[in-house]
Symmetry: C4
């Protein structure tokens, strides 16, 4: 894959933090990263996404070691990012969120996340649930706090665009930052619609062919929402702060 220049990545990464916080996809927790080279990625230091500025971005190797050390705290779960970049060369951006609809579906073993509308056709590429007990037993803190757990998560993700993490959250990938932000927002909406309908009756889901066709059409237009979201979220530094 080709890479945007570092300055473009940094600017979009700051905006992505603000946008995801503004719309309640990230609260004080969760994080978003971007690949800057085949073996490097950018991620903020340990802080609330809504408050991230360009000065807070760190460069990491895929081993999740910062390229330039310093007196900052790091995200415990940076291994989500490093291991997915290692296993998925097509991925340019990774978002780890705790958005409520995705958490809810992750708890319901008989209710897989499925594509309900054209805005989230990408879900049809798979939406596995990561059960950390299968890898690490039933007494963990559920966090992806080392490379081994990150590799298990990446293996379960496989070629999908999203993975639900039982009792924890979700991780979404895209070819670049705007793509991953788009998917994070509409995956949550898909979950909310699916949950609303599931309490009432049988749903008609997209066929796989519909989902892939819709993904191709809609994801070609990602710059349209991106510009709107920038305007709404980036003018005020922490307009939501939602818990």
């Amino acid at each position: 894959m080709t890479h945007d220049s570092d300055s473009v990545v940094s600017s979009d990464l700051v905006d992505a933090n603000r946008i995801l916080a503004h719309f309640g996809i990230l609260d004080a927790f969760g994080h978003v990263s971007a690949r800057t080279a085949p073996d490097r990625f950018q991620l903020a230091r340990n802080m609330a996404p809504a408050l991230v500025t360009g000065d807070d971005l760190l460069e990491y190797s895929l081993d999740c070691e910062p390229i330039v050390g310093g007196p900052y705290r790091q995200y415990l779960e940076r291994f989500i990012h490093g291991e997915i970049y290692r296993h998925r060369p097509d991925v340019g951006s990774v978002i780890h969120s705790h958005s409520p609809g995705l958490v809810t579906i992750g708890l319901l073993r008989g209710t897989p996340l499925r594509s309900v509308w054209h805005m989230s056709g990408f879900i049809a590429r798979g939406a596995p649930v990561f059960e950390i007990r299968d890898t690490a037993g039933d007494d963990t803190d559920l966090l992806i706090r080392n490379a081994s757990l990150g590799a298990s998560l990446a293996a379960t993700l496989g070629s999908a665009s999203i993975i639900l993490m039982r009792g924890h959250g979700a991780t979404i990938v895209g070819r670049n930052i705007r793509h991953a932000v788009y998917r994070s927002l509409y995956a949550e909406q898909n979950a909310q619609i699916q949950l609303s309908a599931a309490g009432i009756g049988e749903l008609e889901y997209l066929t796989p062919a519909e989902a892939l066709a819709a993904e191709a059409s809609v994801e070609a237009q990602i710059d349209r929402p991106w510009r709107l979201w920038q305007a709404a979220a980036c003018a005020t530094p922490h307009s939501s702060g939602q818990p």
Copy 2:
């Protein structure tokens, strides 16, 4: 039908974009149009509704060709508008939205949208579900991207005021912009109330006679909410930006 002057249409059309975005009926997607002559209508260029200004409005023929060409992108689904105006001479405005309650009911085959209160009596004129598979097979991107699909949608709409589009959204019509905006907002509320009640027990719906009588009474007062919505939504250019 008579037509408002072009400048009145343009002013209301800009306001309608802002209002529908402010209240979450449109996000970065969806669109609103207005007929300006028996064989012409106005619609914004391809952009987020919350950001539309008077300079962004294009004039179209019913074939969905812009009257004046230019270097702008067009909405892929402008055929929703052109074909409904062709089939329904009584219609002066068309709104295509993805509002969540309407999307949810569109997924539930055993749960048709029905009029639950006096604010949305117009639903009793019919609320068919457009299943694109019946027309174009089960591998489309669900978009109404040509005149043929637009004509199928318009035929299924028939004489109704609203049509749900399975896995996609809804399209609402009115005699003018304010009328269609009113219906879009209250159709979504009707859907939310209906969904909330449907998970619990049996609902009492309006009789057809009640619905038509309520429609006549309430829709005579549309200027009252319109002025409020203008005040709330049009002072700040993109106050919501909701995804």
Copy 3:
């Protein structure tokens, strides 16, 4: 009952319109009134509650005739107010709303509104459902558009503090404006909590004795929320505008 001076009533009545609109109890429709003498009450002219100022208040007789005529439009449903004041000398303020939780419970014949917490003990005094078909047949517009329908509504209300109106909304009464506003806000919250629980399992409701004891305790403290609501809602003239 004693009456506040007209200027106090007017000031609280303007604030009540703003507060009820700010918190989504009223949208562009619905209205709030206050009794100013045994046989008179104040009510705004026909307009969105969020935009009401002191200049918009009209004085009415219990026959719902304005004391001073003028070129203003009147609310069609002013008879809700006049007839309740006639039948209930203890009532100093009446609010007619379309708040969604109350509308939803009004549709569900097997689910009466019941007091779920100490904040809305007043519901235990009764929460009848007005079925307009019993009085006026099944082809009305559901509106209380004359004194006869208002008298039927008031008779069904009886000695209760709230009445649900099937397919339409609710009407809430209080000894004064602040009391009725308090009840309107917490009746809606009671409905939302009740609906949320009803989809899951059996609820434990307040006993009648608990409800009356809670009503006495909590309603003695109404000035505390009122001051907060004034601060939140009355600084900006139409901060919500919610449809």
Copy 4:
């Protein structure tokens, strides 16, 4: 336990009032306190939390008598605080709220609050329901208005971090103010997720070992959300005012 200096407590206590109001955990009712010495605690005078300033804080003995008398009104339910501090020397802060998800679960006897995700592992230490009828009969106003009721509540709380109060609200404890605020916000989110899932199917809850491990990991990072919440809630004095 050690104690923060009085001025730190006061500053955090004012912020806690603002934060809890901003995010809808407290409305005009509910209160938050902090222990300032083994036998003393601070609590605002009787007022809406969103409006509390440093001048409104009172110092109390564990008997819930103000150390310095004055012409102010006191919270009726200050005994919740005094008796929990007496029974739980490990507790540095107590929050009494009416947040809707916790109220709803408190009504559902067959649905105990359980830990659904890593953000609220503390729930696994127990989440008993206080049924005031067991102590004081079925005709109370549900309020904890004396030391005897406070002692019963504290006894039912036992060593847990949260207690639901049927038909009333919840009380949450923490080792200090930030800890209790954190738990109040995420207990409500846990309840909302649990309610959303419970209407659909069987949930997978955290094991006790997972919950305790997650509690240890996540609660070590409480300063991260605190700073964000301060930024969001404390700039504007009463930004929500939510009823």
